[in-house]
Structures are given as C-alpha cells and as structure tokens.
C-alpha cells in the first residue's frame, strides 16, 4: 500500500517579472521522511517553502498539505522561517514567543493562554534544551539560542511536519552538531523538511535529498548523485566554493 504524502507538489511553476523561478517542480514528502532540499543561494529554496505554505500563489501547479489546500492545513505544520527575517529586538520573552505558536488553534475572540498551553510551551522548550531561558527576553539571547526558540515555537502544537528554512545560518560550528542531534531525535516522531545551502548537513540524519536550482532534482534517497549536483549547481566549482568539497566527493565515491 502506498503511503499518503504529507506534502505533495505537482507540476509547480512560478514566474516573477518574466523570469522563471520554479520550473515544473514535483515533490512528494512521505510521513517519517527527513527531507533535505539543498541548492545554491537564489535557487528558489525559500520561495518553494513559501509556495508550499500558501504565502506565494503559484502560476501553475498544485500543492497539497496533509490532504488539503495550503490555506486549510498550513496552521497544522510547524514552520521555522529564516532567522534573518526576525526583529529580535521585539520585546517578547522566550515563553511568550513559544506560546504564540498556539494562537492559530485558538477559536473565539478572546485568545488567552491557559494552563494546558503553558505545559505545552514548557514541553517544547525542554525538547529544544532551553527551559532555563523561558523568562528571558529574546533580544538578550545568542543567535543559536534564538534559533532554538524559533524551532520551539514551531514545535509547541506537536505538528506532524516541521518545515525549516536555513536553520543553521547563525549557529556556530560546535553547536551545529548538537543542533542536528536534536533534529535527528525529532525526526523519529515527525516528518522534517529542511531547506539549506549547507551540503555538509546531508551526511547525518537526513533520509532523502533533493537539489533545487529552479528545477528540482530528486533521488529519493540520501545520496547525492553527480547528476543532481551538476543539475542544481551547474558546475562542480560551485560546490567547492560552498566549503564542503571533500565530504561531497567522498559520498559520491562510496556510491560508485
């Protein structure tokens, strides 16, 4: 029996000012996948996530989330936007920010948080290992800590799917490993879709990889094939410029 995809994208096209940004994208993300979408900057990774979330309407094609349209179901996903889009000077505490992730599920005019909501927030904070920061203002945190808060906000409603956009931009190297361990643990209970330009990431934890540079090159496994890289990055020199040449090449040799 074939599994029902949690996210399905069929023949998706997007043009901006006459330029094709996304070209005939087909993507199926199944329950339990830890799916990495890599590709060069400007390749359309963030745009694809925004189309999936219904933030940008496509010119052609269909997006299904959990069997419904993006507008119907997007509030059930855990979305972790790029960190650089945030105003971290906003006067809000870590706990308040995490709680705001529950607002979409509240009905009625008065949206007050109850004791149960606080328990959910504490659980999400514990998962990300930042319980001790709960009452701090987000502007007083380091980049890595802020990143964890943003993920905790996405986790607070126990989503089936977690969508992450460049989650390691402001995370330094030592915490990065720790960070991926947390994501690896989360991957046991939920589907994870991660967009990144960091090719090194795919070595650990990730179960499937696709390369995106206007077109999407999929392989339905964690291996990066030469075709995918060539297709997405156009020339191998680009990969070396991205800083992980050895890992990528080694991966590649193993495959042969």
């Amino acid at each position: 029996m074939e599994e029902v995809p949690v996210i399905e994208v069929a023949d998706l096209w997007l043009k901006r000012k006459g330029e094709v940004i996304l070209e005939g994208i087909n993507l199926k993300i199944l329950p339990g996948d830890f799916y990495a979408i890599i590709g060069p900057n400007g390749g359309g990774k963030t745009t694809l996530l925004k189309v999936i979330l219904g933030l940008i309407p496509p010119d052609r094609g269909i997006v299904r989330i959990l069997g419904g349209s993006p507008y119907e179901k997007r509030h059930l996903l855990g979305y972790v936007p790029q960190l650089r889009t945030f105003d971290f000077h906003y006067p809000v505490s870590v706990r308040e920010m995490v709680l705001s992730g529950l607002l979409g599920r509240k009905t009625g005019i008065l949206k007050r948080f109850n004791a149960h909501d606080l328990v959910l927030a504490d659980k999400a904070l514990a998962t990300m290992g930042i319980s001790h920061l709960a009452d701090r203002a987000i502007r007083d945190l380091s980049g890595g800590e802020q990143q964890r808060v943003v993920i905790a906000r996405a986790l607070v409603g126990d989503p089936q799917v977690l969508l992450l956009d460049e989650p390691t931009v402001f995370v330094d190297a030592p915490t990065e490993t720790q960070f991926y361990d947390i994501l690896g643990n989360l991957a046991r209970t939920m589907t994870i879709v991660m967009v990144t330009h960091d090719i090194g990431v795919i070595v650990s934890h990730v179960t499937k990889v696709a390369c995106l540079n206007r077109r999407l090159f999929t392989h339905d496994s964690q291996e990066l094939t030469e075709d995918m890289i060539q297709g997405a990055y156009q020339c191998p020199v680009d990969i070396i410029a991205h800083g992980h040449p050895h890992r990528v090449l080694r991966e590649h040799k193993k495959e042969e």
Binding site: L55, T85, F86, Y90, P91, V92, S100, R105, D140
Partner: protein
C-alpha cells in the same frame, strides 16, 4: 504651585494629558515596536485635510479629522496590499495630500481664518469639557480593543508572515491597528497638535522600550512616562508662560536623550 490645580481649565489640562498618555502608551508601544512612526506621521498630517473640510462644511473640525485619519489609515493599509506600493511611498503621498487639502479648504472657506496654529501645535490649556468626554470615549475604545486582541496584535506586529501561516486574520488585525493609530492621532491633536503627535506617540514608548523586554510592561511604563511628561510640561508652560505642546515634547525629548546618554555611558 498647587493653587493652579484649583482652576478648572488647569484640571482639564492635566486630565487631558492623562487620557492622552494612556492612549499614547498603548498605541505608541505598537507603533515603536512595529516601526510605524512614519505611518503615524502620514496619518496625523492627513488629519489636517479633515480639519480644513470641517471648517468648510461648518461641522466640528475634529470630526473631519477623525474621518480623514481613519480614511488615510484604511487607504494606506489597502493600497500596500492591493496596489503593491511601498508604505514609505504611500506615507509621502498621504502626508502631502492631507496638508494640501487642509490649506485649500481653509482658503476657500469664507470669513475669519481659523486658528490653524492651535491645530498644528495644540493648546492643552484650552481643552473644553466636551473634548474631554470625546477623549474618554476614544480611550475606552482603545483599551477595550487592545485588551481583547492583545495576543493577536503582538503576534502580527512581531512576525507577520508566521501569523499568516498560522491563519490569523493578519490583514484585518493590521487595519484595526491602523485605525487605532488614527483615533489616537485625532485625540492628540487637541493636546500637542499635529506636528508634535509623532513625538508623543514615539518618545514615551521609546524610553520604555529601553527598560523592559515585555510588551505589557512596556505599555505600562509608556503610560506612566506620558503622564509624567504631560503633567510636567503643563506646569512648566503655565509657570514660564510658554507654549504647552512644545514644552511637553521638549520635556519628553530631554528624558529620551537622558536615557540614551545613560545607556551609552554604561556601555563605554
């Protein structure tokens, strides 16, 4: 000094300052954290057009101002989404148009030229009882609306995209906020005048922001600071016989400068 308080006009002035400070503290906090100071500037200058129209039609100028500010707020909010114009550009257009309409209507209105200077710089010492009642109603609307929608307003002003993804009515909430700014602006025209509205919306909230990392606390501090500034300004202007609106703002600005200097010294 306190003998001044036995005069009704002086009591009214202090009361008007308190009411304005409550509205400013609440709305100014959102204006500052969402970086909408320029938007408030545009809306407040659009009010001038409404005042001119009010004189021309022979109705209460403040009612005209209320119509124009709410109209400008709604138009800017809609155009930003529908016509894909930068807010920055819309602010410039609304700002200039509002002033021009005001000047034009006042020019073609027969009879005495009204005291425009009063609307530009305000005179809190001349606030009539009826305006106090209007202010009280507006403060009640602001407190009630923000009280009910507090969590939504924080979510939308903090991260609009995420608020959209979790299916909050983002566009509607932003429009409500713009209308609340418009209401506050109309009220402040009485107290400090159009020119200085921006400062009173901005300064107490800006100082408050330096002291706290929570929206709720920021609102509380901004309200208290506003009350302190307006009351000090009113007393000073009465004693020194200088314009009240300008005095209130200069008191606020001095406090803001003091906080910035203190912060700077603490860092160095």
């Amino acid at each position: 000094m306190f003998s001044l308080l036995s005069y009704t006009f002086f009591q009214n002035a202090v009361l008007a300052g308190i009411l304005a400070s409550i509205a400013c503290g609440i709305i100014g906090t959102f204006v500052v954290i969402r970086r909408m100071v320029a938007v408030s500037g545009g809306i407040s200058h659009a009010a001038f057009g409404g005042i001119g129209l009010g004189y021309f039609l022979g109705i209460e100028p403040l009612l005209g101002a209320l119509g124009f500010t709410v109209g400008a707020a709604l138009t800017m909010g809609e155009l930003e989404h529908r016509a894909e114009q930068h807010m920055d550009t819309l602010i410039g257009a609304v700002w200039a148009t509002g002033m021009a309409i005001g000047i034009l209507f006042i020019y073609i209105t027969p009879g005495f030229a009204p005291d425009l200077f009063g609307y530009l710089f305000g005179n809190i010492l001349l606030v009539p009882q009826s305006d106090l009642l209007l202010m009280l109603v507006l403060v009640a609307i602001i407190v009630l609306t923000v009280g009910i929608l507090f969590n939504d307003l924080v979510a939308v002003t903090f991260d609009e995209e995420y608020a959209t993804v979790i299916n909050l009515p983002v566009e509607r909430l932003m429009l409500i906020l713009l209308v609340l700014i418009a209401l506050t602006v109309v009220m402040l025209i009485q107290v400090v005048g159009i020119i200085l509205v921006i400062a009173l919306l901005t300064l107490p909230a800006a100082i408050s922001r330096e002291c706290t990392g929570r929206v709720r606390t920021m609102i509380l501090y901004a309200v208290l600071l506003g009350i302190a500034f307006t009351t000090t300004g009113i007393f000073l202007s009465a004693f020194l016989n200088i314009p009240s609106g300008a005095t209130i703002i200069l008191v606020s600005a001095a406090a803001y400068a003091g906080v910035l200097v203190k912060k700077h010294l603490a860092i160095c």
